[in-house]
């Protein structure tokens, strides 16, 4: 059976990142002695980033080990995004912002001398094809706490793709943009991540019984 995702040309294009000119609102301009015009984009950036701020924090929490690090990652990400904000006018501000959060998180990993991500892609991709036994009824017994705990034990590559898709409801194109991988990789990673989480939850529940 040959089934592939949508082949519409628009869906196969990578997300575009266009350049835009700095704003020219006179109220927001300051000219230094050297003649350089500085634009105050802070309020515009606030409007731009605010709808995605919570998603950015949730992704940071997914990628780093404690709340303090997540808060640091979030703040650094906003700072970095603000600095590059004037050059951005892409299709998905959310994907752009989340990709910055991911990069900042991995920068922190490097400072903490952690290898990134925590499992080689080849090992993940080599897992058996997922086909969990019917677990739907079993999942009904799960609660949010158990799910968070099981999610936390998945490899980072699986955890982040699940958070992006299932919690933030990103499209495959957005996820591909955030992770910097082709859409096909998003699909295979997502299917393995789901299967792995189902198996994990089922195992945790059975061990409770």
């Amino acid at each position: 059976m040959k089934l592939i995702p949508s082949t519409r040309a628009a869906d196969q294009r990578p997300l575009q990142v266009l350049r835009r000119s700095p704003g020219t609102n006179g109220m927001n301009l300051a000219t230094t002695e050297s003649g350089i015009t500085v634009v105050d984009d802070s309020r515009e950036f606030e409007r731009f980033a605010r709808p995605h701020a919570a998603a950015a924090l949730r992704l940071a929490r997914t990628l780093v080990t404690n709340e303090a690090d997540a808060q640091d990652v979030l703040q650094d990400s906003f700072l970095r995004a603000f600095r590059h904000f004037r050059g951005f006018s892409g299709e998905s501000p959310r994907a752009w912002l989340l990709s910055i959060v991911r990069n900042v998180s991995f920068t922190l990993w490097r400072k903490q001398k952690r290898s990134e991500p925590d499992e080689p892609e080849t090992e993940l991709e080599a897992e058996p094809d997922p086909a969990p036994s019917p677990e739907e009824r079993l999942l009904e017994a799960c609660d949010a706490e158990l799910v968070q705990a099981a999610l936390g034990q998945l490899p980072t590559l699986h955890r982040e793709v699940l958070v992006l898709r299932e919690m933030e409801e990103c499209s495959y194109r957005e996820i591909a943009c955030v992770l910097g991988v082709p859409i096909g990789t998003v699909m295979s990673r997502l299917s393995r991540a789901r299967a792995q989480l189902v198996r994990k939850l089922a195992g945790d529940l059975r061990s409770r019984m």
């Binding site: 059976m1 300051a30 105050d40 606030e46 919570a54 924090l57 979030l74 999942l139 189902v198």
Partner: protein, 240 residues
């Protein structure tokens, strides 16, 4: 298409996520009619999705971080604009922004002292409660009004309330927790015109005052001035 011998595993996920073309979706739907195994697998992943969405944590404090960042840039921009336009006069005016207006620096120090004493004594609230209604009820039993805003949210958690003696009067004090910081907010009647939140440093504490509709508000914590100013803006906007 052989719907009996091949299971569309990858396409099943894309179908669940609404990422297939119409043709692809129809093929999967056709397969599902005859394949109980794939139907069951799809139902499992739908149940998993519901579970994950129910486990989605709130992260409203992210907006406070964003405001802190943007406010920092905004203030820097204002400072730069100020210096460019007004030179030395602007510098003096900027300094005036940081200094508490005449007659209030004594209160700023008193506010800081009251907060320091409560922190050192470990007695930050007489009524510990996260319930705004309970806090307001308790303050009304103390015959205190006006009462500062009591609503939490946006990364601000209500801790409770206490009564303080400030500027020669008994004052309603609402206590918040923001991250690791304890924040006191005081309020009393005042004849002064509305004033935007204005932070200053009093010793090792940061104090911020504003006035709104005949009520003077003071806030104190160990946060930075910009952070406290943003917080003051958020709290002020809850009492409009």
């Amino acid at each position: 298409m052989n719907t009996l011998n091949e299971h569309p595993r990858g396409a099943l996920h894309a179908h669940l996520d609404g990422e297939l073309s119409l043709e692809g979706s129809l093929e999967v739907e056709h397969h599902l009619l005859d394949c109980a195994s794939c139907r069951s697998e799809l139902d499992t992943y739908r149940a998993l999705r519901q579970l994950l969405q129910s486990a989605k944590a709130t992260a409203s404090e992210a907006e406070l971080t964003l405001l802190r960042v943007t406010r920092t840039f905004h203030l820097r921009h204002r400072q730069r604009k100020f210096f460019v336009v007004g030179g030395a006069m602007a510098a003096a005016a900027l300094l005036a922004l940081v200094l508490v207006p005449g007659g209030t620096s004594g209160i700023a120090n008193e506010v800081a002292s009251v907060h320091a004493r409560a922190m050192e004594a470990g007695r930050t609230e007489e009524l510990a409660s996260r319930d705004p209604a309970a806090v307001e009820r308790w303050l009304s039993t103390q015959s205190l009004e006006p009462v500062p805003p009591t609503e939490g949210g946006e990364g601000i958690a209500l801790r409770g309330a206490r009564v303080e003696l400030l500027d020669g009067r008994r004052v309603a004090t609402v206590v918040y927790q923001v991250g690791s910081h304890v924040v006191d907010v005081f309020a009393w009647r005042s004849a002064e015109a509305d004033i935007e939140p204005r932070p200053t440093v009093a010793g090792r504490w940061t104090v911020c005052r504003w006035a709104h509709r005949g009520v003077a508000y003071w806030m104190v914590s160990d946060m930075g001035t910009e952070e406290l100013q943003v917080l003051a803006g958020l709290i002020r906007n809850r009492r409009t």
